[in-house]
């Protein structure tokens, strides 16, 4: 019963925050609503026995990534520059139709999917969470079965690091990061 109430609250809060994102005029508000829905999701993770993931969701997602979003939004002041313009006449209607279709489809599949999949094995997961425990189970699987994925993320991160370094130098040539030679953008300006 308690679980049901908590789930109800999570459901309403997560969905409410998501819908509010659609209508928030201000980018900062959008970001805050996103944080809200992410926190709600973290609780949903907890409810389903994914304890470590829930913590990570809060720490990294809501705590770091969204902070970066807010940081950029606020320092750039993009909130002021948002104008709602329609580039294609029917894009909004199209998007709503597509979204509604998608929502209906996925929800239908979701509500019936347990039958599709076969037996619900929630109890197995609960057993794993009791012994050896969520983090331990995650760690064991992560560092064996997903060894390659784990190492591959480092490549991804390296690409992102290098990318950020390149892009930072594209911001403005005045900010001579590595004492760059005057690039062609200055030629064009001149």
């Amino acid at each position: 019963m308690i679980a049901l109430i908590i789930f109800g609250a999570v459901f309403v809060f997560a969905l409410g925050c998501s819908i509010a994102m659609l209508f928030a005029k201000n980018a900062v508000h959008t970001a805050l609503f996103l944080v809200g829905s992410q926190v709600a999701l973290a609780v949903a993770f907890l409810l389903q026995g994914a304890h470590f993931v829930a913590a990570v969701q809060i720490i990294i997602y809501a705590g770091a990534i969204m902070v970066l979003f807010l940081f950029v939004v606020m320092l750039l002041g993009v909130d002021r520059s948002e104008v709602l313009v329609e580039p294609l006449p029917a894009q909004r209607q199209l998007a709503l139709a597509l979204g509604a279709l998608l929502a209906a489809g996925i929800t239908y599949i979701a509500l019936t999917s347990v039958d599709l999949i076969g037996a619900d094995r929630t109890q197995d997961l609960a057993a794993i969470n009791r012994n050896p425990g969520n983090v331990l189970a995650v760690a064991r699987t992560l560092f064996s079965r997903y060894l390659l994925g784990f190492e591959a993320t480092s490549v991804l991160l390296v690409a992102a690091i290098v990318g950020v370094m390149v892009l930072a130098r594209r911001v403005d040539s005045v900010t001579a990061l590595g004492a760059e030679a005057p690039s062609s953008e200055e030629r064009e300006v001149a």
Binding site: I109, Y146, L147, L148, G149, A152, M165, L167, S183
Partner: protein, 507 residues
């Protein structure tokens, strides 16, 4: 369940990727250690060494056929073929890029490092035997490419197109991810193949071979979303909106690399996923892929006709080519897979060559990319014009070029699979496509150049790349046998269970 047992670690499957990662890191660090130099020749040299070594590693495992690293990587001829091709594409990109960067005063170690990382991601994509690895690989090369598209500093269009590319790319990967999630839900794993025991080591292939068809509903839905995610990367309609902008905004060598490499990697994933793993579900995914292929061929070639910027034109042409290759995916037979590999390899060479020419002709800061800029090119720079003609003829599929044979094998596969009507559409759109390739040739040969001909500095590396790709385009056109044989050897996907085997021959 999870008692920890250290997995068996064999590095042969990922040796090329490791090589590329290591050489990228070395390259970055060495550059900072050496400091400012007027001529940083060592950068392309190191990148070349890394790519050659990676290609050699990929070649050394030719003929192997096994799963490695807990079933995350397939070490098979298919992966080797794609990896070798990608290494070659990377090499050509690096060489053209070097001349381009020097000319526009943009040379940075990051360019080479990102190309290497992108190639590594693409290679991983081709070898991935697990959807999550596929996803990570896709993201790795996508992120590298977002940055490479934005690499020009002269014009804002470069960054703007990168933003569009990025937003649409991220959007599409969310769909791909949704597909992965649903697959995981349906199968209980993201592994493509799975182990012998479908309960303890689940995988898509073993799931499909053991479970009754009624249980595949969720997997079919997942397949739809996976198509969306990969459709973006191959620039299939209706997921093509980023292509013209990104192709136009990116530095020309990178545009060529995207056209050749991204397409190859994404198609490798599509072929492995659809023509091997999900083969038994072909009745479900085929209609969708056919619809996409037809739309892609038509939209790509029709919209290319009205372009007057050569990079946008080639972008639409690359969309049309994605449609042509999709006909081989539809065929879902051995000839289709080998045909697609052959097509992608030769298309990559031709398009890299074409963009090498574009990169040379465009001049400083890519000022000359309008079709009008190609007027009378034959009279000013006959060699460039002849080379570009060759690439265009190959793209148009005119005989004695490799592109013709590619079209033949790809269309042939679809005819064999009794999809002649799709090929008929392909044939009509090829004729339309010929029109816009011809348009460029008209400019080059049949019209006088405007104003005085300005000298075009042609770097030795770029000239070399153009020569290599031109020779290859003709060579694989006249003697397609060896490459085709290699592609046919490569069609052996890793097959743990006989049920996931190839399409039966026969039309």
């Amino acid at each position: 369940m999870p008692e920890f047992t250290p997995p068996q670690v064999q590095l042969a499957g990922v040796a090329p990727e490791i090589t590329l990662l290591v050489s990228a890191l070395i390259l970055l660090i060495v550059d900072t250690l050496i400091g400012e130099r007027p001529n940083r020749w060592f950068l392309p040299v190191m990148a070349t060494a890394g790519l050659v070594l990676a290609g050699a590693f990929a070649a050394s495992t030719w003929g192997d056929n096994e799963l490695q690293l807990s079933g995350a990587i397939a070490l098979d001829g298919f992966a080797s073929f794609v990896k070798i091709s990608l290494a070659v594409f990377g090499l050509l990109t690096v060489w053209v890029g070097r001349d381009y960067l020097v000319r526009d005063a943009l040379e940075d170690s990051e360019f080479y490092a990102l190309v290497l990382l992108a190639v590594a991601g693409m290679m991983l994509m081709a070898a991935a035997a697990d959807l999550i690895i596929m996803f990570l690989a896709l993201e790795t090369f996508s992120i590298a490419l977002y940055v490479l598209v934005a690499f020009k500093s002269g014009s804002l269009t470069s960054q703007e197109s990168a933003m569009k590319y990025f937003l649409l790319g991220a959007f599409s990967s969310a769909f791909f991810l949704l597909g992965i999630a649903l697959t995981y839900g349906a199968v209980g794993s993201t592994a493509l193949y799975g182990g012998r025991d479908p309960v303890s080591e689940p995988g898509i292939a073993s799931f499909l071979s053991t479970s009754p068809t009624a249980n595949t509903g969720l997997l079919v839905l997942a397949t739809g979303f996976l198509i969306i995610g990969l459709g973006f990367k191959i620039a299939a309609v209706p997921f093509h909106a980023w292509t013209p902008d990104a192709y136009q905004g990116a530095p020309s060598p990178i545009t060529g690399f995207m056209a050749a490499g991204t397409k190859f990697a994404a198609f490798a994933a599509i072929l492995r996923l659809f023509d091997a793993t999900l083969f038994s579900l072909r009745a479900e995914w085929r209609p969708l892929v056919i619809a996409i292929a037809v739309a892609t061929m038509i939209i790509g070639s029709v919209l290319a006709v009205v372009q007057d910027d050569i990079k946008r034109l080639l972008a639409y042409s690359s969309i049309a080519h994605a449609g042509f290759i999709l006909t081989a995916v539809i065929a879902a037979n051995d000839r289709g897979v080998s045909g697609a590999l052959f097509y992608l390899a030769t298309y990559g060479l031709a398009v890299l060559g074409a963009f090498a020419v574009v990169s040379v002709v465009s001049g400083q800061d890519e000022a000359r990319v309008r079709l009008a800029g190609y007027k009378g090119l034959f009279f000013d720079h006959p060699a460039l014009a002849v080379a570009l003609t060759l690439f265009l003829l190959s793209l148009a599929g005119v005989p004695v070029t490799a592109g013709f044979f590619g079209k033949l094998v790809v269309f042939g596969a679809a005819v064999q699979a009794s999809y002649s009507w799709v090929v008929a559409i392909g044939v009509i759109t090829s004729a339309i496509a010929a029109f816009f390739y011809l348009k460029i040739m008209v400019r080059m040969y049949l019209e006088e150049s405007e104003g005085e001909s300005s000298p075009l500095p042609i770097g030795r590396l770029a000239a070399g790349v153009i020569a290599i790709t031109a020779v290859a385009t003709i060579g694989f056109g006249v003697v397609p046998g060896p490459l085709l044989r290699a592609a046919e050897d490569a069609t052996m996907f890793f097959q743990p269970a006989p049920e996931t085997g190839q399409a039966p021959l026969g039309g």
